[in-house]
């Protein structure tokens, strides 16, 4: 090992073999290492042991309503752009058992042991890290916190990765979240053909890395990384003008624009966009009972503002039409969210566009709305 003092902000070059050892160290320290894997012609986040589990040499082709895995030009591990799956499921699981009660004299709680998993997320993109930081503001607040989220979040180890090959639906540059990672991580990778450049983001990251063999990167190598990052900015698939946000989507007269009627004709109200979105946080609590009705449970599940039951009140629905629901979704993400949480609710990951079966491009929708209201 070289005698270099490393600290927060230091970048080192780490071979891919050494990275595997780092993953092993993480597991040794009690972390469950999760990262991208190819599954069902798509990419999911699941348990990984070594880099060999990752989608090697895979790139993705993404357009509105379109996703394909392709053979990439290199043999790198992070050349793809994530698919429908996001890290959200690890912190805000799609199903959580909330409570079980048993009928006694009144009702009593049945205590269930649930160990909180400690995750090391491997390969978190700039937009994805931004999404986690947005959800932090929702689930961990001074006046309220969600225990499931908070415990999982506090134990999280984040290995971020800079994106070098944005997809057609990406627009993180517009949202200021990528392709270079912006948020707080433990370690951040830039992948070159034979090494990772690893930037240290935390004390925990430094101490893990200090046990591995690394080099100081040469100026040449750093230069290549910088060039690739600059090229990624140029290759960004889409761009969204955010200068008039959130106002464009919150002005009452814009809420009555004809564009909403137009998009409502195409939207299926399927809720895919909300399910794939890494910042969407809505949930529902469902109830179940055992056969003898002596025990009852409540389970938290993801919900969607596109679900008719979401806005149901006795005697009617406050958003009875697809127009109203689509408008709620878009104006929340790119409008009201700002007033609620101090940031827009979108990080530019592009999932909602890629995974919309009706090929609705929300970036284009915002542009169309702008054109209508400004003309």
């Amino acid at each position: 090992m070289l005698d270099i003092t490393i600290s927060r902000g230091t970048t080192v070059a780490l071979s891919k073999a050494e990275f595997d050892l780092l993953l092993a160290d993480l597991r040794e320290n009690g972390y469950q290492t999760v990262g991208p894997r190819v599954q069902d012609e798509s990419i999911v986040y699941a348990d990984i042991q070594t880099l060999a589990d990752l989608p090697r040499g895979v790139q993705t082709e993404q357009e509105a309503g379109h996703f394909r895995l392709m053979r990439g030009a290199s043999n790198n591990y992070f050349d793809f752009i994530p698919a429908a799956d996001s890290w959200k499921k690890f912190l805000f699981p799609p199903r959580v058992d909330l409570l079980t009660v048993r009928k006694g004299k009144g009702w009593e709680y049945v205590e269930t042991e649930t160990a909180t998993p400690r995750y090391a997320l491997v390969g978190v993109r700039g937009c994805e890290l931004a999404a986690i930081e947005i959800q932090d503001k929702i689930f961990i607040r001074p006046d309220f916190y969600d225990p499931t989220y908070r415990l999982r979040r506090e134990g999280l180890f984040i290995i971020a990765v800079n994106c070098l090959h944005p997809a057609g639906t990406c627009f993180c540059t517009s949202m200021g979240t990528g392709p270079k990672v912006q948020g707080s991580y433990d370690l951040c990778l830039t992948e070159l053909d034979d090494v990772f450049l690893v930037e240290i983001g935390s004390e925990l990251g430094r101490s893990l890395l200090s046990k591995r063999k690394y080099d100081l990167p040469s100026a040449f190598v750093q230069n290549i990384a910088n060039q690739r990052l600059a090229r990624a900015v140029q290759e960004m698939g889409r761009s969204l003008d955010t200068r008039d946000l959130p106002g464009l989507l919150t002005e009452p007269e814009n809420l009555e624009a004809a564009r909403w009627d137009e998009v409502a004709k195409r939207c299926l109200s399927c809720g895919n966009c909300t399910q794939v979105c890494p910042t969407c946080f809505c949930w529902d609590a469902t109830d179940s009972v055992n056969l003898s009705a002596t025990q009852a449970s409540r389970t938290r599940v993801w919900d969607s503002c596109f679900n008719p039951a979401y806005s149901y009140v006795f005697g009617g629905n406050t958003r009875p039409t697809i127009r109203a629901r689509y408008r709620q979704w878009l104006t929340h993400k790119f409008g009201a969210w700002k007033e609620q949480f101090g940031t827009l609710g979108c990080t530019g990951c592009g999932r909602c566009i890629t995974w919309c079966p009706a090929k609705i491009d929300h970036v284009a929708e915002i542009a169309a709305l702008r054109e209508e209201v400004n003309s």
Binding site: L98, K103, W107, F144, D146, F281, W283, D284, T321
Partner: protein, 292 residues
């Protein structure tokens, strides 16, 4: 986000370390009010909860019936009830509420709360008050009425405008006399009268009718069906009462009560924590946006 009304203290019933785990309360009394509506008087089983639980007029609890789910229900009793009972006047409409309707005295129910903003009783001291409500909108105002009665000298002229569908839908009839004795002027009206009804037929809650108000010193508190609320607002504004002094209580689908599940949003507001009581001035932008 900066708060619009004095924010309520954190809930004292329910467990902060669990997402939506209620405390238990026993039903000690059930008062049938009208067809399909009863008042349930609850006492927390845990004496500590009983001790620390306080609510402000206009706030609500999430009531949990195991196996069926939770419902947001306003408190309808006196916040300073001597027996420390908490009452909810509930209309039986769906899964949860209809099954609450089948409960008996001695049965146990889960309670989380109190949640949300309250009627600004402090802020409106010294003012003339118009309380305009209809249907199931009276129960959330009843704690405010008790508060006014207890502090009668702190408020000016108080008028309660109350509308119901038919005479038999009027709630708390036994108390009306008592309220009037405390110089609360009541105007009651029904949508459909019969020959035995010698009160008003029409839409009183929306019309500050033939009584004079001093717009510079009047505050309006209104609760009821959203259409009714809109017309109360139109009338209030027409009478030149400033929007900041018209307070409305809104209803939306609710699951958590703590600004987390997303269900209750209207524009930038979570009705469960930024409301349910809002000064109309903050909602003015949205009131005529349909299906928002």
């Amino acid at each position: 986000m900066t708060s619009l009304l004095p924010q309520s203290a954190p809930p004292t019933a329910g467990h902060p370390g669990k997402l939506i785990q209620p405390d238990w309360a026993e039903i000690v009394r059930i008062t049938p009010e009208t067809e399909g509506i009863s008042t349930f008087w609850l006492r927390f089983i845990d004496p500590q909860v009983r001790e620390r639980y306080h609510f402000q007029p206009g706030q609500f609890n999430m009531l949990y019936l195991p196996g069926y789910g939770e419902s947001a229900i306003s408190m309808s009793s006196d916040p300073e009830d001597e027996e420390r009972l908490v009452a909810h006047t509930i209309r039986f409409v769906g899964t949860v509420t209809k099954n609450i309707g089948r409960l008996k005295v001695g049965d146990v129910i889960g309670v989380r709360g109190p949640f949300g903003t309250s009627w600004p009783m402090k802020q409106i001291e010294g003012r003339d008050l118009v309380l305009a409500c209809g249907g199931i909108g009276l129960p959330p105002l009843r704690p405010a009425i008790y508060h006014i009665i207890r502090n009668r000298e702190k408020y000016g002229k108080v008028t309660l405008l109350y509308g119901a569908r038919t005479p038999k839908d009027l709630m708390y009839p036994d108390e009306h006399e008592e309220w009037q004795r405390h110089d609360i002027h009541m105007e009651i009206s029904v949508d459909r009268g019969d020959e035995n009804w010698d009160g008003r037929v029409g839409v009183v809650p929306m019309w500050f009718y033939n009584f004079r108000i001093d717009p510079r010193n009047t505050a309006v508190l209104t609760c009821g069906p959203e259409i009714m609320i809109r017309f109360v607002i139109y009338e209030g504004l027409a009478r030149r009462i400033p929007a900041e002094r018209i307070f409305v209580s809104l209803e939306r689908n609710m699951k958590c009560g703590q600004g987390s599940c997303g269900h209750c949003q209207i524009g930038p507001y979570f009705i469960c924590k930024d409301g349910p009581v809002f000064p109309f001035s903050v909602l003015q932008r949205y009131v005529n946006v349909e299906e928002y």
